[in-house]
């Protein structure tokens, strides 16, 4: 993947840089002075002269780095964003380099950023359990004054996010220690605390710090705690495996059904609308046959990445078949009012995605194959198009077929394309 992308194009320097750095670049270089010109360059560059990386001086985006980086990503989600700063790091950027970097250092940073595996969702317990409705704190109410192992099992099942907290409570109750905490490293521990590593086999889980514990006592309890922490980690991993598509990092069909059921319930209670888009890649078999399955896999991964850069927070991308995807638009808009029409924001997002796919460059297909991919899709919205999971998915599927019949490369929304 990386080797192919070397051919992508130029570096866009945004801000004031040392002349030596800019002039020593092997790649073609463009220079602009502010974020707006950088966005303009990204939006208007031709397919033959693509911008591979945007190198931004920190002061340019300092006023609101998150919004500025988001703006660049909206325009071209595939360009690598590198922030050049004195000491700060910007987590939203693909890479951070120091001010005295060299051209070789800059190229290495861009190459490293590109060679990262396709972005997979970091599935936190909060996200997965909340969207699936697993969290139910009422079920972890203590039966008696003493905490026991059963409370830990309940926490694992119903409130994984509180697991560590309950584990520490239990330790305090069993031992009578005045202070007890599970910490990332020992620098966070109080000076008077005794510490022990939380290790189960080769797995590290931080350290256990306690005040009022003997070393022997702490070692025994740390073994016990590490065992529980490892169980919690494995359970989380299994949960992710059950709901995530391994190839693309998107959610899978099981997740779609579970999440849609829950979201429909919420939509009914709060009088909100909920839209599902189902789409597939036109003639995907052709790509697999022509370019090989490896290239096909790459397209799937890149497509999910592209889609994630367009959807809003709270929306979910699912891969429900070989080249079939579903996007769950969980509407954050205010409750609908009597007589209101279909939401238009979703249509804009869907059309924008279709457009971005059309313009997307897929390195595995080579530079001569740019802009050859298209998708066909269908949208269905609760409550207008269906009241339950099956009817909504069926309606979206029917509209996808309608798009295919109408010559592909289209998204059917309601009765019009």
């Amino acid at each position: 993947m990386t080797a192919n992308r070397h051919a992508r194009g130029s570096y866009l320097f945004t801000g004031t840089f040392e002349h030596e750095l800019v002039s020593s670049m092997d790649q073609p270089v463009r220079c602009v002075n502010n974020i707006f010109d950088a966005i303009g360059e990204l939006a208007t560059c031709s397919a033959a002269d693509l911008i591979e990386a945007v190198v931004i001086e920190e002061s340019i985006i300092q006023s609101n780095s998150a919004a500025n980086i988001d703006a660049l990503r909206r325009v071209d989600p595939t360009a690598v964003l590198v922030v050049v700063s004195e000491k700060n790091t910007h987590p939203q950027a693909d890479a951070n380099v120091s001010k005295n970097t060299t051209s070789a250092g800059l190229c290495a940073a861009v190459t490293n950023a590109k060679s990262q595996p396709s972005e997979k969702t970091i599935l936190s317990e909060i996200d997965l359990d909340d969207v699936l409705g697993i969290s139910d704190e009422t079920k972890i109410t203590r039966d008696s004054s003493d905490l026991g192992d059963v409370d830990l099992v309940r926490a694992l099942m119903h409130a994984p996010i509180r697991f560590k907290e309950i584990l520490v409570d239990l330790l305090k109750e069993q031992t009578g220690w005045t202070f007890c905490a599970i910490l990332e490293d020992q620098t966070c521990a109080p000076e008077t605390a005794t510490i022990a590593p939380l290790r189960y086999g080769h797995e590290e889980h931080g350290i256990l710090a306690a005040v009022g514990a003997t070393a022997d006592e702490l070692r025994r309890w740390s073994h016990w705690a590490a065992c529980w922490l490892d169980l919690a980690r494995r359970q989380q991993h299994l949960k992710i495996l059950a709901y995530q598509d391994e190839l693309s990092g998107a959610w899978n069909r099981r997740f779609l059904k579970t999440c849609l059921t829950r979201e429909l319930q919420i939509a009914r209670e709060t009088r909100r609308h909920l839209t599902v888009m189902i789409f597939d890649i036109d003639d995907f078999k052709h790509y697999n046959d022509k370019w090989g399955h490896d290239a096909g896999d790459e397209i799937i991964r890149e497509l999910v990445k592209l889609l994630r850069s367009i959807i809003r927070k709270g929306d979910h991308v699912c891969r429900i078949g070989g080249d079939e995807f579903a996007v769950l638009f969980c509407d954050p808009e205010p409750p609908r009012e009597p007589g209101s029409n279909h939401p238009t924001t979703i249509e804009i997002l869907a059309k924008r995605f279709k457009e971005q796919v059309r313009l997307a460059r897929f390195p595995k297909l080579g530079t001569e194959a740019t802009g050859v991919l298209s998708i066909s899709g269908g949208l269905a919205t609760f409550p207008w198009d269906g009241m339950d999971v099956d009817s909504i998915l069926l309606k979206a599927d029917q509209r996808l077929l309608q798009s295919k019949r109408q010559g592909k490369n289209s998204i059917t929304i309601g009765n019009e394309t």
Binding site: N34, I35, F36, D37, I39, G40, E41, L42, A43, T44, S63, N64, A67, N68, D70, A71, L72, R74, V75, T344, I348, K351, R352, E355, R358, L359
Partner: protein, 134 residues
Amino acid sequence: MLVPLARNEAAHHAAQKFGFQPSIEHEPALAMAELCLHVNHLRATQAWCAEQPVAQLILVHTQELEGIDQLVHAIHAYFPSVLISELRDGRIVDIKNDSAVVDKLTELPIVHSEDVDANELYMLLDNKPHEVEE
């Protein structure tokens, strides 16, 4: 529409008053990005030779935001067809493209060309010399 977050209501009122269904942004960079995507979308979906619909950016209370001059300058440079307006005293007022030369001239220049004789005119129109009737 670009409006500071604290003045969001003003944008909604203006949209209602003028019958727009705008996309509202609160950060200049995000407004620029949305505008780029919108213009590219209009271009991509427009039939060849059809009249190009004009994208418009309306600035509302943007004196409270930083970088507006640079934003306007960049839009004029990269998307000269975009109409930039400002909500001023309840009216939408266009912002002129100062980078366009014609706006800086008080009077349109008058160009005097040399006279064209009949033969040259025939050559230009018919691509053949004028045949004089005898």
